[in-house]
């Protein structure tokens, strides 16, 4: 199988899964088995692509031109490879989890749910593989639209309100700012291809660069840079598997992925460093990191707290992009993977608690670790990874980010990263403490074990172990990302 | 002054057109609107025919010994315009008849009142 064929398969398989979900709606077992099978197949295909990229291969596919010189095109490069790998792996796990969750919860419209889910994965894969900004924009919008039915899955008043904020912010920012930035770039540069070293160098200058970067950074609403972050907590009305995969991994990561791609391939790292156009973005990101953490501390609803935590963590990635330095970029890229695995564990745990104990608030979780030991242990591992302590994956990415900030001579930013880690501990760890060391509010002090269905628990344990494993195998990820920063070979 | 001598009839024609147009937009009676429209259109005919005039010429019917004739083209165009005008009038009047059946009036304000009531009801 050539790499090009594998890329096409990576795009087609999620679509197949979506189609199957709609077609086989009358036989849920068959439908879910198919989803799972397709997911595994996708993972296989994606893994088969890794060696090519590692060896410096950059397979390309050009489909058809929409505008003159602007085709729908795909091109595999390290960042997209990493993102695709994360999405594919977690999709399989989430599908297991979703089967358990949706059934344990007797949700309606499961076929539509799985169908739209497949579509959302298709959009994420498309974004990961996009070979130019137009293609990326197409899949970015498709992702917004395909997740809207998932966010509003319950079709009640609350879902409608959440959906309004979700769609309102994501569509408005993308149309009013991102699209403007894209077309503007095209007018200036005459192309939208992702090229090493960027396409804007020498074409744009002065304040225009700053304005353009701002349009990209804020226009990518999915990156949840404050003040355009409100959609993310609003999206928490969705069923938990959606929050887990889409709003901790796929959707938000497409956002920061877009920002990273723009910084690396549209502006070019060297160009940004020379013009210092991204300095303000560092501070915007730092503000988001701190404010996100602070707001998270005030939230009692577990999923909302996690959502604000995500807002804050996305700030890390944007910060790394804004640093536009070797370590910043590598730290950012790595954080996409590390945070994804850690955060999805936390969401899985939140969903498992909801399915098994019907609890949603942090204050209700006292003593829950005694009845749900597996879930809460996994939660704790995920939390430590998100905080960034060894021996978990999150430690590496935060380390590189801090290194990047130090390299850029921004001592204050290093301080921000430290403070933020402390805040993370503050709002994530008390949940563990209360769950294990405080007796429940009601009932016996040591209730019998009552875990969520196996389909829920196994995936969350897997992802928790995954974040542990990532600490020990960060080296391949590092090697994968290294080509992103030209001239960094010797600096490692 | 020489301006005025050469152009006065255009100005009167403009006055005529505007009188017709005024009737169309000022009156609330549907039939009077149609009458106004007719005057408006009939005055445009005069505008064209005035253009076709050539001093010292006769109607474009060829006879031996004459060299100058008036321009035939404006006449041709206006023959078409007359028919178009009448056709429009006919359709407008047929509509007026139907509106009178449906509303019992051909006054715009009374029709608006009824429509407003209908809007509130449904």
């Amino acid at each position: 199988m050539t790499s090009e064929m594998a890329m096409i398969l990576a795009l087609v398989l999620p679509l197949v899964a979506a189609g199957l979900s709609f077609v086989i709606r009358s036989a849920p077992n068959v439908r879910d088995a198919c989803s799972l099978a397709v997911g595994v197949a996708l993972l296989g295909v994606v893994i088969s692509l890794v060696p090519t990229v590692m060896d410096g291969g950059r397979p390309e596919i050009v489909l058809f031109e929409i505008f003159e010189g602007l085709p729908i095109a795909f091109r595999l490069e390290p960042l997209g490879m990493l993102f695709l790998l994360v999405v594919a792996t977690l999709w399989v796990i989430t599908t297991c989890y979703a089967i358990g969750y949706m059934r344990g919860h007797h949700e309606v419209n499961q076929s539509r749910f799985f169908g739209c889910f497949g579509l959302a994965i298709f959009a994420s894969a498309g974004a990961a593989l996009a070979g130019n900004m137009l293609t990326l924009f197409f899949f970015y919008e498709l992702l917004t639209l395909s997740t809207y039915p998932l966010v509003t899955h319950h079709q009640n008043e609350k879902a409608k309100r959440g959906g309004r904020i979700y769609l309102g912010i994501l569509i408005s920012t993308s149309i009013a700012m991102l699209l403007l930035a894209v077309i503007w770039t095209y007018v200036i540069a005459g192309t939208l291809d992702f090229r090493e070293g960027g396409i804007l160098a020498g074409k744009a200058e002065g304040p225009m660069v700053i304005v353009l970067l701002a349009l990209y950074a804020f226009g990518t609403g999915k990156a949840a840079l404050m003040p355009f972050h409100r959609w993310l907590p609003a999206a928490m009305v969705a069923p938990t598997p959606v929050s887990a995969l889409l709003h901790a991994v796929a959707v938000v990561k497409v956002g920061v992925f877009t920002v990273l791609k723009v910084v690396i391939y549209i502006f070019g790292i060297g160009f940004l460093t020379d013009t210092k156009a991204s300095v303000w973005l560092m501070w915007a990101a730092a503000t988001t990191i701190l404010l996100g953490s602070l707001v998270a501390m005030t939230k009692d609803n577990l999923k909302e707290r996690l959502a604000y935590s995500t807002v804050s963590q996305l700030g890390y990635i944007v910060l790394g992009a804004a640093l536009a330095s070797q370590w910043g970029i590598i730290g950012s890229g790595m954080h996409i993977a590390m945070h994804a695995v850690g955060k999805i564990t936390l969401f899985f745990a939140a969903g498992a608690i909801y399915v098994a104990a019907h609890k949603t608030q942090v204050s209700q979780l006292r003593g829950i670790g005694r009845s749900m030991p597996f879930t809460m242990t996994a939660y704790s591992l995920g939390a430590i990874s998100v905080i960034g302590l060894p021996p978990f994956g999150g430690a590496w990415s935060k380390w590189y980010l801090a290194l990047g900030a130090a390299e850029a001579g921004q001592a204050i930013l290093v301080g921000v990263l430290m403070v933020s880690s402390l805040l993370n501990i503050w709002y994530l760890m008390p949940i563990t403490m209360n769950a294990f060391f405080v007796p429940p509010d009601e009932g016996p002090a040591y209730p019998p074990i009552k875990e969520a269905p196996l389909f829920c628990v196994v995936p969350l344990c897997l992802t928790a172990l995954g974040s542990l494993a990532l600490f020990f195998c960060a080296e391949p990820i590092y090697r994968l990302l290294l080509p992103l920063v030209p001239g960094a070979g010797g600096g490692g | 002054m020489s301006e005025a001598l050469g152009l006065y009839n255009y100005w009167i024609v403009i006055f005529l057109m505007m009188t017709g147009l005024y009737l169309v937009i000022s009156t609330g009676n549907l039939v009077r609107k149609v009458v106004g429209l007719n005057i408006f259109q009939a005055s445009v005919l005069l505008l064209y025919v005035t253009m076709g005039r050539v001093d010292g010429a006769t109607a474009p019917i060829f006879v031996e010994g004459r060299e100058t004739y008036t321009d035939p083209l404006p006449s041709v165009l206006m023959l078409t315009a007359i028919v178009v005008g009448v056709a429009t009038t006919a359709v407008a009047l047929a509509l007026t008849v139907r509106i009178n059946e449906a509303y019992g009036t051909i006054e715009e304000d009374e029709i608006n009142e009824q429509e407003h009531a209908q809007e509130l009801a449904g």
């Binding site: - | 403009i14 006055f15 007719n38 005035t50 076709g52 006919a90």
Partner: protein, 182 residues
């Protein structure tokens, strides 16, 4: 000079009739005045040496249109409501439009100017019709041949209007659903 006097006389009459139509309160009166207006304009066209249009206007404009209006009045109502208050907006619109038009006339070739550019195509007809047709009337030749397609279009307009009127006035059968008022 005589020509100019007649011109001004007829145009004055036209203006007076137009104003009378605006002021006329009874609908039948307005219809009659409309007929008179068409008739007067037909006579002015005759003065301007455009007999073909003049005859058509007298027959169709003054005759058929007036009959249509009168027929309509006979099946609807002959009374028009008195306009209660003076409206400023229509007058403003009309004065503005008229002013623009008058501004536009300032660069026009003068009335009757044989050198005016307007006669560019007209002169081609005057030259070609006697050569290419046996008909002495240039208007007929242009209408029937050079611009025959306009005439064909004109026929279609009549057909369209006829269909429209028939369609509008066709009586509904008893068993048909009545007009829906939601």
């Amino acid at each position: 000079m005589f020509q100019q006097t007649v011109d001004i006389l007829v145009l004055g009459l036209l203006a007076a009739t137009a104003l009378a139509v605006v002021r006329m309160r009874t609908l039948i009166g307005a219809a009659m005045l409309m007929g008179i207006y068409s008739f007067l304009s037909a006579s002015w066209m005759l003065i301007l040496d455009a007999p073909d249009v003049a005859f058509t206007e007298a027959a169709v404009g003054a005759g058929v249109s007036t009959i249509f209006v009168l027929a309509t009045l006979s099946i609807t109502t002959i009374r028009a409501k008195r306009q209660t208050k003076f409206q400023f907006a229509p007058l403003a619109v009309v004065v503005l439009t008229g002013a623009v038009l008058i501004y536009g006339t300032l660069d026009m070739p003068h009335f009757g100017d044989p050198e005016a550019p307007v006669h560019r195509v007209g002169n081609r007809y005057i030259k070609r019709v006697p050569e290419e047709f046996k008909i002495p009337n240039a208007v007929t030749a242009v209408l029937g041949s050079y611009r025959g397609f306009d005439t064909f279009g004109e026929t279609t307009v009549v057909l369209t209007a006829g269909l429209g009127v028939l369609c509008l006035l066709r009586k509904r059968r008893e068993d048909e659903p009545k007009v829906v008022t939601e």
